[in-house]
């Protein structure tokens, strides 16, 4: 029989070969042709752990850290490792009840499984952290992890420094996926503008994870890891004591203040009112405070020093004089016979506070007496020059001067969110006046009115131009970047460039403008700005303003404005102070400016200034109409919330969507956020009287 079926050994051999060939082909397909599996394996087993660098520190001009890093602690729990602990004691230590404990533990398990650590309680307050740390050995499965936080040692300069928050979807998209979920990014202020400098370089550690997502070691011995590099620090021009003083003076006021060093363009102090404490946005209450502030109609988040648009009024006059001088339409001896109002345009406007007596016999006198007729007239002289052939071209020429002074354009300060103010284009006047207009149409541009809008920063910069006699450096906060890279230098290089404006006009012309401003303090409207031993040059301004509330145009108290520089010779500081709805320029803005100058130049305050500063700081000048506005906003929100919840209950009843399904409306939308104004209590009225929105919920 042995030879009988010998041929079958051949077919068996063939079977072996065929089957092995099939396996080999499948292996070849899996391992060589199909490349998906490598990525799948990486996704499976390698976890890129991001090492966050410390963000850079920001220093003031004297090297004091005004924005620093501190460490907070998150309490993590790995539920599977929690065994045999004294739950009651833990709850006592953490000041929570056992029901809350169980809830948090369940949440952790649901969110992150029981073998992976998840946050049990974020941002542990200091005393709880210390208490837990002492007893940590009793609680296996719980551990503290460091979490770097931004800290503000002086609790000041919120608008300058800005804040960091977790990136949102837009940030990630904008950065082309450079940022990842959970990263922090500077959202405003220096934190945002110098994000690339401050953030440092993220490090990545490739870790191997096992089938339960636990990290078990370094991938390839860390050969692919990149080290993290701490963010670079910024040295600013800010004088933090001056800043604190300014914030104190501007508290409970709406407006903006900018103090510059004219020789460098460095910003010594910048305040926007209402202000907030930057520390409020960090730590455990951070997000709560954030949403409160966002909903506050007074806009505590808005930096009015660079984004507030104010009619400059009389504070513009020195610049108007300079333009006329530069164009050669007047000399510093030019006089205008003002009889109390400007009559050349036929309607007798604008009126002037002085009448006769040669109060505008030359430029110096005109500035000292703030003669409206004089500056309206020289505006007209400038734009109506025959050599430009018509008011439109003349106006364009004038507008070019404004741009050179930094009005109507963004100056380019190193903060995000700057506005350009407004110097209208000819097209605006063409449209409004059917293409036919004369210099009389926008006559009041000459005295900083009409459609002219400026920011406090622009006006401070204008002062710098005057006291520098025709040049300026773009105002900026950062003096230098520690260990700057080439890219960093590109960021600060624009601030090293000298902008020459009107250097062609003779020194005597500047002298008469400066003397005029000096006279304002000596004998004119700004007597409050006098400082013994320091010659201050200033110009006050008062602008009318209106708002529309409940459909009615109502007149608000005037804006109080003050621009100045000091000392007259070799000036060290240029200032612009705008206080909204506060009255005359010399009433509030003037004293604020004086106290600032005194503080900066003398480093101490006189007795008078001390008492003044206490009085000003205590004064509450928040316009009353905000209260009404806030109530309206809150009511609208409450109504919306009411509708939303009603709708969602309706949905729940009529659809089969399970409440946990995506797309199911959340039954809880926070109703009313605590408002800023209610807390500060600068309205006399008590909360109970405005109970309408409360009624909605009864």
């Amino acid at each position: 029989m042995s030879v009988y079926h010998q041929a079958r050994s051949r077919s068996i051999q063939l079977l072996l070969l065929v089957v092995f060939l099939i396996i080999l082909l499948q292996l070849f397909y899996l391992q060589v042709i199909d490349s998906r599996y490598r990525q799948l394996a990486m996704d499976n087993a390698v976890y890129a752990k991001v090492i966050y660098p410390e963000r850079g520190i920001i220093y003031d001009r004297k090297g004091r850290a005004i924005l620093n890093n501190t460490i907070a602690y998150d309490l993590l729990v790995t539920p599977a490792e929690v065994k045999g602990i004294d739950t009651l004691e833990l709850c006592r230590l953490l000041e929570m009840d056992t029901a809350d404990f169980r809830k948090r533990l369940m949440e952790a398990i649901v969110k992150n499984t029981s073998v992976r650590p998840s946050v049990f309680r974020g941002l542990l307050p200091k005393e709880l952290q210390a208490r837990f740390e002492e007893n940590a050995w009793k609680f296996p499965g719980f551990n503290l992890v460091e979490r770097p936080l931004r800290s503000y040692p002086y609790n000041a300069a919120a608008h300058i420094l800005g804040y960091v928050r977790e990136v949102d979807a837009k940030d990630i998209e904008r950065s082309k996926n450079f940022y990842r979920q959970g990263d922090y990014i500077g959202k405003t202020g220096l934190e945002s503008f110098y994000e690339k400098v401050l953030m440092g370089q993220r490090g990545v550690q490739y870790m191997i994870k096992d089938n339960k997502n636990r990290l078990v070691g370094h991938y390839e011995n860390g050969d692919f890891d990149t080290a993290s590099a701490a963010g670079r620090s910024l040295h600013t021009y800010i004088d933090i004591e001056l800043q604190q003083l300014a914030e104190k003076l501007m508290s409970n006021k709406v407006g903006g203040l900018v103090a510059l060093d004219p020789s460098t363009g460095g910003i010594l102090s910048m305040v926007s009112g209402p202000n907030y404490n930057p520390s409020d946005l960090t730590g455990s209450g951070g997000s709560n405070n954030y949403s409160n502030m966002v909903l506050d109609v007074t806009g505590p988040m808005l930096n009015r020093a660079i984004a507030g648009r104010y009619e400059p009024g009389s504070t513009f006059k020195p610049l108007g004089g300079l333009v006329a001088l530069g164009e050669g339409v007047i000399t510093s001896n030019y006089g205008y016979p003002c009889g109390g109002r400007y009559t050349a345009c036929g309607h007798g406007k604008p009126a002037c506070t002085h009448a006769g007596g040669g109060h505008a016999a030359n430029l110096r006198l005109a500035i000292a007496n703030s003669c409206n007729s004089y500056f309206s007239h020289i505006y007209r002289l400038t734009v109506d020059q025959p050599k430009y052939g018509g008011v439109k071209n003349g106006y364009l020429r004038w507008k070019a001067y404004m741009s050179a002074f930094g009005l109507g354009v963004k100056l380019g300060v190193d903060l995000p969110g700057e506005t350009a103010g407004n110097i209208p284009d000819t097209s605006v006047y063409n449209k409004e006046n059917a293409n036919r207009w004369t210099s009389c149409t926008n006559l009041t541009l000459g005295i900083g009115q009409d459609k002219m809008l400026t920011t406090p920063l622009q006006m401070a910069n204008a002062m710098a131009i005057i006291c520098n006699r025709g040049y300026y450096y773009t105002p900026h906060l950062v003096e230098k970047i520690e260990g700057a890279s080439d890219q960093d230098s590109a960021l600060v290089n624009p601030y090293r460039r000298k902008h020459n404006v009107l250097t062609g006009i003779p020194d005597t012309a500047y002298r008469s403008v400066i003397e005029g401003m000096s006279d304002v303090v000596k004998v004119g409207t700004a007597l409050v700005a006098q400082i013994p031993g320091i010659e201050v040059c200033a110009k006050t301004g008062t602008a009318e303003n209106y708002t529309i509330l409940d459909g009615n145009r109502i007149k608000l108290p005037n804006n109080s404005m003050f621009v100045c520089f000091a000392p007259k010779e070799n000036p060290k500081i240029a200032l612009a102070v705008f206080v909204q709805n506060a009255g005359f320029g010399a009433t509030w803005a003037g004293p604020i400016a004086r106290i600032m100058i005194e503080k900066y130049l003398n480093d101490t305050l006189s007795v008078k200034s001390k008492s003044d500063s206490a009085r000003i700081a205590a004064a509450n000048l928040m316009p009353a109409y905000f209260k009404r506005l806030q109530r309206k906003e809150d009511s609208i929100r409450a109504q919306e919330w009411f509708k939303l919840t009603r709708d969602s209950f309706y949905l729940k009843r009529t659809t089969r969507l399970h409440p946990s399904a995506p797309g199911f409306p959340s039954p809880y939308t926070p109703p009313l956020k605590k408002s800023f104004y209610r807390e500060t209590g600068w309205i006399g009225e008590s909360r109970k009287k405005t109970g309408r929105e409360a009624n909605l919920f009864v």
Binding site: Y4, I12, Q31, R38, L40, A41, N44, A45, Y219
Partner: protein
């Protein structure tokens, strides 16, 4: 070499031994790669008998010792005791029922002290011997259906016992012994028919029932048309073809659903459908929870195993990641990776080149066994050799096929590579006995 080795080694085929040793070594390395944790003391854990790879090492040493005894023995001994061995094996299989301990859902393991052993693993050796013995009986005429049925019963009886122990995989191994019978004269029509039925079952999984019925009818009509001349000469052929068609439709419409609904277990049906990438239509899931079940299936279940195993092997690419750099197998992504899914470690660590070399080694071994089988004078030795070949072949193909998604998941070990003492010793013993028989190939054993 043979002459220098003295009397024991005279006539021994050392090639087999070296291949066996190479495979066992690869196995130990693979288990080491799959289970070694960073920081374990290397030497201590290899010698200490506390890690899987050191255990495997000692199992191998032990199998060498048994092998030495086997090589010293007389060839006649194996032929003489094969019936006794068969009876002993069956006894062991029966012993499982009262004494088994439940481990990982199987009921086939007997535990003695700290050792577990699985009789079903080594009984196949006795069955191969007994089948060889039966086929070599001088008075046997294997052309008779009665003899064929007896041989089949001899093989299928232990398989039945395995099924009763919920070890379908091991039971299927016994069916591989039909290869021996084929070599010894089982009519070719029987494997052809089996193949036809298998193909029919697979197509009825893949093709919707109504479409398949139509296809079968079309095939029938084509056959009738092509054979229209032949019918005149062969009267019975027409009825035969009609009957085959009826049988095929019956299998496809009734037998397959019956098999999946009532005979096979749920997880087995699931595995078969997973293999073909289809949803199991026999799973009874109410519509309301179906999404949840599908989600769970994605995360766990056999499709998870196969998916992870394919990821591991596929990520090895052409040259592999290196012995201890295989992330998938080292960090427990592949379940059962030291036993049934050990091939993943090779595939991930050594890539296509390593996998192909291992396959080549197996193929070389199997072809070598064919050569050895064909040079035997006695039917007993030849039939035994084919038995060894069939068992190893089945294990290798099904195990590797399962890890790369060519076969349904059947839990059988990869010879010499998978962790497990019983399996290692059994396979080694099979080869050693073959070597002994081969050394005496001029002898006629009865």
């Amino acid at each position: 070499m043979r002459t220098q080795q003295g009397t024991i080694s005279k006539g021994l085929d050392w090639t087999l031994f070296w291949v066996l040793a190479a495979l066992a070594l690869i196995g130990m390395l693979a288990i080491f790669a799959a289970t070694y944790k960073e920081g374990d003391p290397l030497i201590a854990s290899w010698i200490g008998f506390n890690t899987d790879y050191s255990k495997q090492f000692y199992f191998f040493v032990f199998s060498l010792m048994i092998g030495f005894v086997v090589l010293l023995a007389d060839s006649k001994f194996f032929a003489a005791t094969s019936n006794l061995g068969y009876a002993l094996g069956i006894l062991f299989l029966f012993l499982v029922f009262p004494f088994h301990s439940r481990i990982k859902g199987t009921e086939s393991i007997i535990r003695i002290g700290s050792f577990n052993f699985q009789p079903a693993e080594f009984v196949k050796l006795f069955v191969a011997l007994a089948l060889a013995k039966y086929l070599s009986l001088p008075e046997l005429d294997f052309r008779q259906t009665r003899a064929q049925l007896r041989a089949a019963a001899l093989v299928l009886f232990p398989a039945l016992l395995c099924i009763l122990q919920s070890e379908t995989g091991l039971a299927l191994v016994y069916t591989s012994l039909f290869l021996v019978m084929y070599r010894e004269g089982l009519p070719a029509s029987i494997p052809t028919m089996v193949m036809a039925v298998v193909i029919l079952v697979v197509t009825s999984i893949l093709v919707p029932p109504n479409l398949l019925a139509i296809l079968l009818t079309v095939l029938l009509l084509i056959a009738l048309y092509m054979l229209r001349r032949t019918f005149k000469r062969q009267r019975g052929l027409f009825t035969k073809i009609i009957l085959i068609w009826l049988l095929a439709v019956a299998i496809q419409r009734f037998a397959v659903p019956f098999l999946f609904k009532n005979v096979l277990q749920k997880h087995q049906v699931e595995r078969i459908y997973n293999l073909f990438g289809k949803d199991n239509p026999y799973r009874q899931v109410s519509d309301s929870i179906r999404p949840a079940v599908d989600l769970k299936k994605k995360e766990t279940g056999t499709s998870y195993n196969v998916r992870q195993s394919k990821i591991a092997i596929g990520s090895g690419r052409f040259l592999g990641k290196g012995l201890l750099r295989a992330t998938q197998t080292r960090y427990d992504f592949v379940p059962e990776q030291r036993t049934d899914f050990i091939f993943c470690t090779v595939g991930e660590g050594f890539g296509f080149v390593g996998s192909a070399l291992l396959l080549g080694l197996y193929l070389f071994l199997l072809l070598r066994i064919v050569t050895i089988a064909e040079r035997q004078r006695s039917t007993f030795s030849r039939a035994y050799a084919y038995g060894v070949l069939a068992v190893i072949f089945f294990h290798v193909v099904v195990n590797i096929g399962m890890t790369i998604g060519l076969m349904p998941v059947i839990g059988i070990p990869l010879p010499w590579i998978s962790y497990g003492g019983t399996s290692l010793i059994t396979f080694s013993l099979m080869i050693f006995i073959l070597m002994r028989l081969d050394a005496d190939r001029q002898m006629v054993l009865r």
